[in-house]
Every structure is written in structure tokens, then in C-alpha cells.
Amino acid sequence: MSIESAPGENWWTRIAHPGQFVAWSRRLVLPLSIATVLLFALGLWFAFFNSPPDYQMGDTVRIMYVHVPTAWLSQFVYGVMAVSAIGTLVWRHPMADVSMKAAAPLGATFTALALYTGALWGRPTWGTFWEWDGRMTSTLVLLLIYLGIIALWRAFDDQLRAARIVAIFTLVGAVNIPIIKFSVDWWATLHQPASVFRLDGPTMPPSILTPLFIMVFAFTFLFLVLHLIGMHTEVRRRRVASLERRLAQKGAA
């Protein structure tokens, strides 16, 4: 019986079994990719041609349509990693390990992009690429934590053992996420406070809010596609490693 055709009794085993997970989730990649492309096309069209320039910032406001989604993802991806870490620690869920590992480089990339676009935006509007402001500093710390987690994954030879250790560290590092969220309220220095999700409604006009939301969805879908593909790659990489190990044992015997 090949690994793909092993019986899956319910949805839980279908998720937990790496071979079955790849089998059913592979069908999701194409529709999700198409949705991503469409959302990006629509969002970019809105962002470049169908949204007004800001009355103060002019056209530089369009940087926001990349900056806000990547910044949102930098925290969302950590959330995905933290939830996966709980899955690893509590249920020893094999796909949670894989999800955690595949998400780390993506999160690091989105965080770096958020910092980079923020610097590009800060130069014309605040007059500086970088300031030691609460939100920027805490996002930089988030990037360092991501890089540390990637380094930790790479330091282990045995990836199965690594998962539980990395999961513990991921949860320890999660204390930084609320700090980022509330940094703009605690240290009101330079970065503006929350302006979309507020009790008294967003502080932006719909003409800017619409493309922003479409771009947030586009980037989130991009993450989902990349994350799925990354998980598939990781499952195959592990299978190759175990096959190689078996082959080496046979050669030695």
C-alpha cells in the first residue's frame, strides 16, 4: 500500500497524514493561485489608477497598499506559527510541524518587506528612513525573532525532534506580538495609531479603504498559496530524507 492510498477515517486523520494532506490540498493550489492573481490585478488597478492621491502625502500614499498588507502579514504569519506550535506541542500533529517550518521564511520575508516599504514611505513623509519608534523597533525585533527561529530549524539534524523545541521557542517569542500591536498606543512617537479597525470606524475615506482591503486580501492569499506549496515541499523533503536513510541502512547491512 503506497503512502497516498493509506485509509483516512475522518477529516482529522486526513489533515494529520502527510501523504493525504498533500493529496487533497494539492487541488487547492491552482484555484487559490488564480484568486491571488485576480485580487492582485484588481488591487493594483485600484491602487494605481482608481484611488485619489492623499491631500498631504500626494502619490506616496500608494506605498500604503503594499506596506499595510505586508505589515499585517508579518504578524498574521507569526499567529499561524504560534497556532501550529500549539498543535505540535499538544497533539503532536505532524502537519503542524510542517506548517510551522514552512511559515518561518515567509514571515521573515513579509516582515522585511514591511520594514523596507515603511522606510521608503517614511523618507518623503517623515523625512527619515528610520526612527527608533515603538512600532518600528518592535517590528525589527519580530524580524530578528523570525531569523532566530529559522537559524534554530537549520541547526537541528533531526527535524522531527526540532519541531517541539522550535514550537516552545515560537510560543516564547509570541510575547512580542501584542507589544507590536499596542506599541503605537504605549509610545506615541512617530508611527500613526490604528486607523482601520477602530471602535469609531476607520479614519480613511472608502476610496482609499477599498484598494487597501483588496490588497490585504491579495497578499493574504499569496501567503496561503506560498505556505501550501512550502508545506508540500517540506513533506516531500522529509520523505526523501527518510528514503535516503533507509537506503543507507540497507547499504550498511
Partner: protein, 221 residues
């Protein structure tokens, strides 16, 4: 309580009898303080203004340097495995080792602070605040370091990874540690910073043994 104290006593005795590792760490701490004036010039006023930051950076680097010593030797000779079989829960074992590590690596540094105070042209008030801030803040550094050391204990070259993991998490300790000595221009808020530093220390000291124990238990499986 007896096994808890026994672990502390054992670690301290081992470190004191097996050569002067802890003295090397003090030497490193003092040397960082000595090297900085060469880098920024012997301007006494500038040094006095930078001294809180320099003292904390020196303490920060020294505590990262000593991290690997926390669990590695016990892992390699199998002591950790035996400790897992003890009646004492692993988290308390970690707490005992953290206390011993603090006594061996942080306390000597604090005792060596007067040396740095003289060389960095600190005045008396700043010096006393620096000692207080180090006393309150270093437990947090050591406890955070325990998580880093526990997570990397089975990695052969873990000595390099643990500081990289712990450094970003320890930034708040650094911020409030320096803040408790001097807050720069504006009204003096060093008292508030010291209280926040104490809060961080207590929270980290209470929670990190649990995380470190979990890491040790799952890596020794």
C-alpha cells in the same frame, strides 16, 4: 526544599572548584568597559553620559557568553537525564540552576562594577543606581538565557544559536535597565523604569523555568 538547595550548592561548588570560569567572565565584563573608551575617546563627560549604556552592554554580552555553560555539561555527562528522574519537577531544577548561574555569573559582575564606575567617570549617585539596576535586571537576563540554553542543549554548535535567539527577547531588559540608571533629558523617570525592570524580572523568572523545562524534557526524549 532540600534537593532544590542541593542543586544550587552542587552547581556553585562545581564551578568554584573546576577553575576560574566565572573569573574569566568578570574579566570579560571589565574588559568591555575598558575597551569602549578607546573606541569613543577618553572624553570624561561623554563617557559619564554613556556609562549606563556601556555597563549594561558589558553585562548583556557577558551573560550571553556564559549561557552555554548552563546546561551543556550536565547534558553531556548525563546528569540532566538523572535529574529528570528526580522527584523534583524539571522546572524547579531549572530554577535552581538559574539561581546558581546568577550567583556565579551575575553577582561577580555586579561586584566588579566599581571598577567600571571609576574608569567611565560615573558619579556616586549614578554608580549606586547602576548597581541597583543590575541587581534587579540581571535575574531576567539569566532566566531568559535559560530558555535559550535549554532550547539549544542538544545542538552541538548551540553556543552560537542561543545568544541569537535570546538577544531580541532581552531588549526590554536593556531598555528599562538603562532607563533605571538615567532617562536622559526631561523629568527623571528612573524610579518607574526600575519598577518595570523588577516586574519584567519577576515575570521572566517565574515563567521561563517552565518553558526551559519543557524544552529539556522534549529534547531528551
Amino acid at each position: 526544599m532540600k534537593p532544590f538547595a542541593a542543586i544550587i550548592a552542587r552547581d556553585v561548588r562545581l564551578a568554584l572548584r573546576s577553575g576560574g570560569d566565572w573569573l574569566t567572565l568578570v574579566l570579560f565584563f571589565v574588559m568591555v568597559g575598558i575597551v569602549v573608551p578607546f573606541a569613543i575617546g577618553p572624553d570624561r563627560e561623554l563617557l559619564a553620559r554613556l556609562s549606563p549604556g556601556i555597563v549594561w552592554i558589558a553585562a548583556f554580552l557577558s551573560s550571553l557568553l556564559g549561557l552555554d555553560r548552563l546546561f551543556r555539561a550536565d547534558h553531556e555527562d548525563g546528569t540532566l537525564l538523572l535529574l529528570r528522574a528526580a522527584d523534583l519537577p524539571m522546572s524547579l531544577v531549572v530554577l535552581a540552576k538559574v539561581i546558581a548561574h546568577w550567583l556565579l555569573t551575575a553577582l561577580p559582575l555586579i561586584a566588579a562594577t566599581p571598577l567600571l564606575a571609576v574608569m567611565l567617570a560615573m558619579d556616586m549617585a549614578t554608580f549606586l543606581k547602576a548597581v541597583l539596576s543590575l541587581l534587579v535586571g540581571t535575574p531576567a537576563l539569566v532566566a531568559l538565557g535559560a530558555v535559550g540554553a535549554a532550547v539549544t542543549v542538544t545542538i552541538r554548535r548551540g553556543g552560537l544559536i542561543a545568544p541569537v535567539l535570546i538577544l531580541p527577547l532581552a531588549i526590554p531588559v536593556l531598555i528599562f535597565g538603562v532607563g533605571a540608571i538615567s532617562t536622559g533629558p526631561g523629568p527623571d523617570q528612573s524610579g518607574t523604569a526600575l519598577l518595570l525592570l523588577a516586574a519584567i524580572s519577576l515575570i521572566v523568572a517565574a515563567l521561563s523555568p517552565l518553558a526551559a523545562a519543557l524544552a529539556i524534557n522534549s529534547s531528551e526524549d
